[in-house]
């Protein structure tokens, strides 16, 4: 059983398009996260939700909008994609401040 899953794993799209990445966890965790890993492998948190409530919102362009329909799902919608949005996006979940379990990542390429 996959603990944290993301779809799609690869996403290639053109500038200006709108796209979504979906994340689901079956671990029963209360907290979910979105991270961005850039081309230099630097991993930075973007958002965190606890029980469907947004608790962390780093300095991220408002073209990025997370949505949590329930505590097992956290989706990321990106409007008007730009070249600089190309990166690997990771979803993760945890129970409060414990170990974070990561999804397989989504490699987004904007052309």
């Amino acid at each position: 059983d996959t603990a944290v899953s993301q779809t799609p794993k690869y996403l290639v799209t053109q500038m200006g398009n709108d796209k979504s990445i979906k994340c689901e966890q079956n671990l029963g965790h209360d907290t979910m996260y979105w991270y961005k890993q850039d081309s230099k492998k630097f991993l930075k948190i973007m958002f965190s939700y606890n029980n469907k409530e947004l608790i962390i919102n780093e300095t991220v362009p408002n073209r990025f909008s997370p949505k949590s329909p329930d505590k097992a799902h956290l989706n990321l919608h990106i409007n008007s994609l730009e070249l600089g949005d190309s990166a690997v996006y990771f979803c993760a979940s945890s129970q409060k401040a414990g170990q974070q379990y990561f999804g397989p990542g989504t490699r987004l390429t904007v052309t």
Partner: protein, 115 residues
């Protein structure tokens, strides 16, 4: 600003030997966890080991152990009997306030194990 510093961008080791990856961090929390994650070429982020800050005993997981120096805010990872499958990027992570698991990751260390 709360930071995590991994001062070794790249390391290499011969198979079966021991290597130590360094990490220093800065947090204002009193009770917290520290983590080492491994990212192989498959890009999956895998937890290697975690340390609870209130425990003085260093954490150990098979060939992986840490040297945790709380006062110095140092958290190094020792890999014994290195294997080819240990080749990966290693990230150290420490908390950034709140109890909701906000982590700061270091810049990463690329470890290559040579046969």
């Amino acid at each position: 600003a709360q930071t995590v510093t991994q001062s070794q961008p790249e390391m290499s080791v011969q198979e079966a030997e021991t290597v130590t990856l360094s990490c220093t961090y800065d947090t204002s929390e009193n009770n917290y966890y520290l983590f080492w994650y491994k990212q192989p070429p498959s890009r999956q982020m895998i937890l290697v080991i975690r340390q609870e800050a209130y425990k003085q005993q260093n954490a150990t997981e098979n060939r992986f152990s840490v040297n945790f120096q709380k006062a110095a805010k140092s958290f190094s990872l020792k890999i014994s009997d290195s294997q080819l499958g240990d080749t990966a990027m290693y990230f150290c992570a420490s908390p950034r306030g709140t109890s909701y698991g906000k982590l700061t990751f270091g810049q990463g260390t690329i470890l290559t194990v040579h046969p």
